[in-house]
Symmetry: C2
Subunit: 502 residues, 2 copies
Amino acid sequence: MSRIANKSFRAKIVDAETAASFIHHGDTIGMSGFTGSGYPKAVPGALAARIEAGHAAGDPFKVRVWSGASTGPELDGALAKADGIEFRMPYNSDPIARQKINAGEMDYFDMHLSQVAPMAWEGFLGPLDTAVIEISGITPEGDLIPSSSVGNNKTWLDIADKVILEVNAWQTPMLDGMHDIYYGTALPPNRVPIPLLKSDDRIGQPHFRVDPDKVVAVVETEAPDRNAPFSPPDATAEAIAGHILEFLKWEARRAGLPPSLLPLQSGVGNVPNAVMAGLIAAPFEQMTAFTEVIQDGMLDMIESGTLRMASATAFSLSPDRAAFFNDNAERYRDKLILRPQDISNNPELVRRLGCIAMNGLIEADIYGNVNSTHIMGSKIQNGIGGSGDFARNGYLSIFMTPSTAKGGAISAIVPQVSHVDHISQDVQVIVTEQGLADLRGLPPRKRADLIVENCAHPAYRPMLQDYRARAASASFGRHAPSIPGEALSWHQRFMDTGDMKA
Amino acid sequence: MSRIANKSFRAKIVDAETAASFIHHGDTIGMSGFTGSGYPKAVPGALAARIEAGHAAGDPFKVRVWSGASTGPELDGALAKADGIEFRMPYNSDPIARQKINAGEMDYFDMHLSQVAPMAWEGFLGPLDTAVIEISGITPEGDLIPSSSVGNNKTWLDIADKVILEVNAWQTPMLDGMHDIYYGTALPPNRVPIPLLKSDDRIGQPHFRVDPDKVVAVVETEAPDRNAPFSPPDATAEAIAGHILEFLKWEARRAGLPPSLLPLQSGVGNVPNAVMAGLIAAPFEQMTAFTEVIQDGMLDMIESGTLRMASATAFSLSPDRAAFFNDNAERYRDKLILRPQDISNNPELVRRLGCIAMNGLIEADIYGNVNSTHIMGSKIQNGIGGSGDFARNGYLSIFMTPSTAKGGAISAIVPQVSHVDHISQDVQVIVTEQGLADLRGLPPRKRADLIVENCAHPAYRPMLQDYRARAASASFGRHAPSIPGEALSWHQRFMDTGDMKA
């Protein structure tokens, strides 16, 4: 049975190549997609082929690509491989695109994910020519049933001149009804409070609206989302998770938090999954998540009954779990809500709900500043994503990492971070497998005491102590002692010798 | 006529020395005060005398001092001079306290001003022993009429074990009715939307409540607020203001903003005053301000009719203007609203209203990261204050500075900032007297093109170009090219030679 229940949309069904022919050199494309879920699977590949053909004929052909966050290899990978992306925002984790960005061949602007839709709407980012949006169906009335991510799709559909739809029959029809698309946003001076008080409040409607006159093509697909499988938690991840769970139990007692704690936000990866596994056994109940993505661990928490429901903007499930979810979506229908990312990550809501934010980092410095994005200060890994939305506005902002990387050649705790994504004021807790530093209310030198003592790897602790001792006398001021000429020398040493150790 | 219209409070009138005797070594004191307005004038001096007497007798005597923001010399100056402050938060601009902080003799924790009240209430900062609050009167019912700043007073009164009140007869009685004290805040999971839609909405009540049983002393004073006079705008300030005004006019046309533009937030100083003088002549009308402090330029804008009203948490008027305001308060009564700082700076409200945020900086780097606080990375000037609340959440975040300091020995544009308060994502526009860089939507290398070309001083531009050229090949990644071993060398050179120039 067709997913396209509306006749006039059915009349617009074309193949991916025909759809891609509506896209031209210099265009800006708003793609669907958020962490490997709900991105268009067919048109980007056809566009990449068009671009390659153009380049072979000596014609310039590049486009500007906007999305929700990361997508899949069929989108970022294919277009980057074709040298077809002039500019990319707001987030990327594709390895080919990353390589081009760090070769200086592709422009990339990483943004707070909550701000993409409003800034696009405000015209800060220029006009949007075409939206290419994966959906899971079209209603008889011509409304669009969202797919496995919402991202910025509502905004792309609203502001693009042209719309191309991909209707993906691989997505379970049980997605219909899981989404909550809020149409109450406005630009200043007409913004009003967002009427969401709890993670499970519904404030919108299940479907996107679209002006049918803007829809130039509808493409039918049947292709899986592609998220990378996660490695299972190792001893390091288990140790980090253990410290966090002890801390959360202590904090819940100290602050008199309810048994449901406060809504969880969590990045993805094996450490967050270990935290969630631990939460199943922890003395919390009827918890909720108000977060960006629903990952494997959250489904387990729902299965166990610990997590009552999760609100997010996208699924981010490993391939096995995505297949499992598709086969068993019925039992999650009333426990999951997918929202636009300007709602899932909204500072107003994150602060109101008091999220407990748990995110990874690349490096932290002795004063608690966090670098989440730039290796050695210049090579971008993914992007800031929603970490700033949650870290600044949550009840608690926890950053976690193994204390070393590259077999010990890189310390995650350094004298000064080579790039800052999260200032110390937005970092309440830092955790490594070595231990946890609760930085709340502490001045810089006391933060440094805790971070060096509790979080640094023993191989680097004496080097940090030595730096601190010398900075105490060589510094311009002693509020947060530093030696500018040496503060980033660990990074330079790694670049020069392959090891941060002297 | 007494400002204390309630009998039971009149019975508690004592002198400052007696009031100060309620404060002991190790106590945490929540003081009123925000930018030299509304801070207690008598008890801190009496406490400083007690501390000095204790020290002379060989007894330890230090206290932890919380406030709204900066205060006056009678508070921070007197207590710092007495070596009486163990810990200070969330903001300081007193020169004696600053010297102690940067000598490593006093702990200081600078915070986002919107977060002080909720984090104190959440217990993140430890217990509060005593509140010492300046007010302008007490009603017959025993409610407190706020003074020339609101700051965190509501929260200090709510959470302190003991309360000492200073009733300052110097403050005009016409302040009564200007305040809007919102009692609808709650901690998660019970927070609700803040029902403020426009700068001039009133959502609270004019007076503070206090549990009379907690009030241990009432002290009568008659002493002026003390803000430093501002230097008049010089040619540099006029040039910066000129670039900003041109940009705002262009942006208003581009974005179709209303004639009232959007609510202004502005730091204090001669550059903001020059901007406000320029706004009087600009084609905007019926403007509002939703900001931290009401400074001289805003009174001029109100006089001219350009500014319809201003919402803030404190006055920050030069001595002449404060006297003028006190004599003419009647005509401003319906045009000014003072709110708690967790409302004046609230991210939910700043984002809803779409403030145009204009703040100063110490240095910016070629990628648009901003250091507002730490000279040479280690010596704190004042603190982040509310700049982060407004910069991240406003419609537009503008940072402005002269392009050099110390007679040209310091460049405000550097290869890499020595400390980060505002990440590039929170910095849309940088302005110096040289020009303006509109960074919206630009990837790092294009941001660098604009900042170096438009904002750097010609004496430093070739040095920045040279760094960029070498970084392009020496960098680990070319997304945001840098040379870690050299990135902070300008700061080290200034420390070593007194000049950033090679």
